[in-house]
Amino acid sequence: MKLTFKNGTILIDGEYSVPHTQWDGRVDDQRCLAHRYKDISKYLKNSEIPYKDEVLDLVPCPELECDVELRSYQKKALERWMQEKRGVLVLPTGSGKTYIAMKAVEVANSPAFIVVPTLDLIDQWKKELKDFFNIDIGEISGREKNIKPITVSTYDSAYNHAEKLGNKFKMIVFDEVHHLPSEGYRHIAEFFASPFRLGLTATYEREDGLHERLPELMGGKVYEIGIDDLAGSHLSKYSIERISVDMKPKEKEKYGECMKKFKNYLVSRNIKMTGPDDFRKVVLRSGNDPEAWKAVRARNKARKIAYNSESKIDEVSNLLDRHKYSRIILFTRYNEVVYKISKKFLIPAITHKTPNKERREILERFKSGIYTAIASSQVLDEGIDVPDADTGIIISGTGSNREYTQRLGRLLRPSDKEAKLYEIVSSGTSEMQTSYRRRG
């Protein structure tokens, strides 16, 4: 029997039939997805079938040592994982998942491939890994391709190159592993033969139920700790103030016009808007129905007016005035608004387009007190190095956004006064929404 790795799959050449495989008439051998590697070797060993194993072709790797002290719950999580060297750890944001992962890599003491959602996170992981392991860290991403014993990649690049990389690392780590079970990204786990697998997340469950795939891909959930279970929680207290502002009369007029167009379309086609799915349906119709196309355009324009409203900028100005001596993080989902605020108030801006060097510098200067405010369209909480702030300002679009207030709230640390979080919402807009819902 001989096992070889072929583009994300394993070919089994030999007379015994092996579980998890399928006959492949194209090459007259048995074949399975690479993630079955561990199961198959186990089966062959248990059945005492001799075989030649040519699956792994590992990146040459030095002894891996990392200088991290784990807290007690982190140690416990690591121990659970070590039983099978497979599985997912569920820990809240800010609980030091990276450190557990680094310790796990040290325990495995073999080449490791780490998959993370964004380029920012690549940078952060690389920095930490380099600091603690004291070796050069590789990267597979749109901007760089460089394989090292420890290599960090984005989900997208890992998906694109899984066929070629799948047998080069004994260990694979997925940060924010809840992304993994989606139809596309799943291939990464399947095409990697790596017997050691670690998944990290704060939110194991997915709305679409696909997390049920994780046990097969990763090993199941092996450890979970909630935010309330963390002893001596350093989570801060803060108070939220919701400020609703009226659009400027001209904006209101224009907004009203656009929304009316949209609503009239809904009425004319007898469409009831009850959720985001219904809007998607209208978008789908816009290919064939010129009226639908116009309606969608009008609605998008209305939204743009609402989130771009001058009144919100005025309100930001008021808040900045009130908090001249605070440390402020401004957050909005809309890049355009970030750029506008940055230029108008001369506040450093961070969007996903900001070059790394500039971003790093901005964060450092905020930390050291040279800058006292940051405007960002990125949720900074998935990072490790988020500087402390005592004032948060969220500029929401059409209605309040609980997810963002919670996430930004977690970043706030009280100074001498209580930490404060503001959310600015356009008042007219939600009224409009409820009104057409009722009519529909």
Binding site: D24, W293, K294, S317, L346, E361
Partner: protein
């Protein structure tokens, strides 16, 4: 290739097809989009011009065209002071909350840097993509952009393909090289349909290989004639379905796509080029084709270097001008798997130092030294030719040749009537009649007629060529017959009246 949101398709169960735009019909839109790209304009300005061209029927088209033109554009940043520097200096001065305060700071910084406030304002975000400025101009025909668009649309549809089948003639080497390069696999059936899948396709239905299929498409379209058939995974009222997509080379002649056809493949070496020209000089009625087809070899295919063809018989020739043990092993295995029904000759460069023993199980191997030897090949060709002619002659129904054996006729005329080769007819007559065949003029003379002609010539008093010719003319046969019916032509001088036709001496 476009992003999936720009995919514009028509679905009619069970078929799916990109919404192709006829270049003639849509060239105006294309021109307008092209004309929005004016050198010196910023991306933002260009975008808003283009946005104003959109309507419900064309918005995907317009955005697609934009993308295709933008792909080949050169945008650059334009500023007086580096924007990052401008921002850093201003940020450092702390945030402002009023216009007056802001202006004060801008003025201060602008005088420090020696630039105007306006220029400072412009530079602030000059490095944002949207503010980049177009640096080139275009000299592209609007129709060509549309053809590129149609191609990209097809590739975008293939992103969602779970299976791709193709049938091609030509560009084989490139196609199979690309299949391998993109990590794909193939199967070939007897009709040479090539089913392309990825390694994991047998285990799960997956769109993972769609991008590779899309990249393969231009190679397929570069072949002489082609046909593709793909299973596309698509969502129909919220559920995933498999729809079918078909396209063939006619779409190119209809002007939908850019012409990607490559010229016929170049010779790999000088040896090959000389071989082809020498052979065609010796055997001019054989067709010599380079990389003519694929041969099915078990689960795989082989692309022989040459095919020499005549009368539906083919000899395939594979030239080995390079080797490693592994390469030869694979090659021999491939050749063995092709089977006996195909004639395949392997020609090996003798200077490589491998011998007959390295070609285990391969029947026909010839070695060449600098020049391909024609002799063994020509011999083989002639025997195949003979075989083919005999076989064909036999297969022609007897009834067909009943009538004409009583009279003189042209072989060519008959061969056309029964739709076969002159040589096949000659072969048939040789076997089944006792008449004469004149190969040069391609005539058949029944035995009785031949006798009669001979008698008439014998009876002539003046046996000069001039007189003899009169007889031949009557029967519409050429001088060629004289030799066959036992006359010698003796040239005493160059004057025709001095040329004598005399019976051949007997028993000589």
């Amino acid at each position: 290739m476009l992003t999936k949101d720009l995919l514009d398709v028509k679905k009619r169960r069970p078929n799916i097809k990109p919404n192709y735009r006829n270049p003639n019909k849509y060239k105006d839109v294309s021109r307008k989009v092209l004309n929005s790209f004016v050198e010196g304009r910023s991306r933002g300005e260009i975008y808003s011009k283009i946005e104003s061209l959109e309507n419900h029927d064309n918005f995907r088209l317009v955005r697609g065209l934009k993308k295709i033109i933008e792909r080949d554009s050169d945008f650059g940043k334009s500023f007086t002071v580096n924007p990052e520097k401008v921002r850093k200096i201003l940020y450092q001065k702390g945030f402002v909350t009023s216009d007056e305060e802001r202006m004060e700071k801008l003025k201060e910084v602008s005088s420090n840097l020696g630039v105007s406030v306006e220029s400072l304002e412009e530079d602030f975000w000059a490095d944002r993509e949207i503010n980049e400025v177009l640096k080139n101009s275009y000299d592209v025909a609007p129709k060509e952009v549309l053809k590129q668009y149609n191609l990209s649309l097809t590739q975008t549809l293939l992103f969602d393909a779970v299976k791709l089948s193709i049938n091609v003639s030509g560009n084989y080497k490139e196609i199979f090289r690309a299949i391998k390069y993109y990590g794909l696999m193939y199967e070939v059936d007897e009709e040479l349909n090539i089913k392309i899948t990825g390694p994991a396709s047998i285990i799960k239905k997956t769109r993972k290989y769609g991008t590779s299929f899309a990249k393969l498409l231009p190679y397929i379209m570069a072949s002489e004639e082609w046909k593709i058939n793909a299973d596309i995974e698509t969502e129909v009222s919220g559920e995933k379905r498999i729809y079918n997509f078909e396209l063939n080379s006619n779409s190119i002649s209809k002007g939908l796509f850019p012409d990607l056809k490559t010229s016929s493949p170049d010779y790999d070496s000088e040896v090959e080029r000389r071989f082809a020209s020498r052979l065609s000089a010796v055997k001019e009625n054989w067709e010599i084709l380079r990389e003519p087809t694929i041969l099915k070899s078990g689960n795989s295919v082989m692309i022989p270097d040459f095919c020499i063809k005549r009368l539906d018989r083919a000899i395939y020739l594979e030239i080995v001008g390079f080797w490693t043990p592994e390469y030869l092993k694979n090659k021999c295995e491939k050749i063995r798997k092709i089977g006996d029904e195909k004639t395949l000759i392997v020609a090996v460069d003798a200077s490589l130092g491998c011998g007959k023993e390295d070609f285990e199980g391969v029947e026909e191997v010839i070695f060449y030294d600098k020049e391909m030897p024609l002799k063994p090949l020509v011999k083989r060709m002639e025997s195949i030719e003979k075989d083919a002619i005999e076989e064909r002659a036999e297969s022609i129904g007897d009834g067909i040749l009943d009538l004409p054996t009583e009279s003189i006729f042209s072989l060519e005329k008959i061969s056309k009537e029964v739709n076969t080769d002159v040589e096949v007819i000659a072969e048939k007559l040789k076997k089944e009649s006792s008449g004469l065949i004149l190969p040069e003029s391609g005539m058949f003379i029944p035995e009785k007629k031949a006798k009669k002609i001979r008698e008439e010539i014998m009876e002539l008093e003046d046996a000069s060529l001039g007189e003899v010719e009169k007889v031949l003319k009557k029967y519409k046969v050429s001088e060629e017959i004289l030799d066959k019916i036992g006359f010698d032509v003796i040239w005493k001088s160059f004057k025709r009246e001095n040329v004598e036709v005399v019976p051949k001496p007997k028993n000589k």
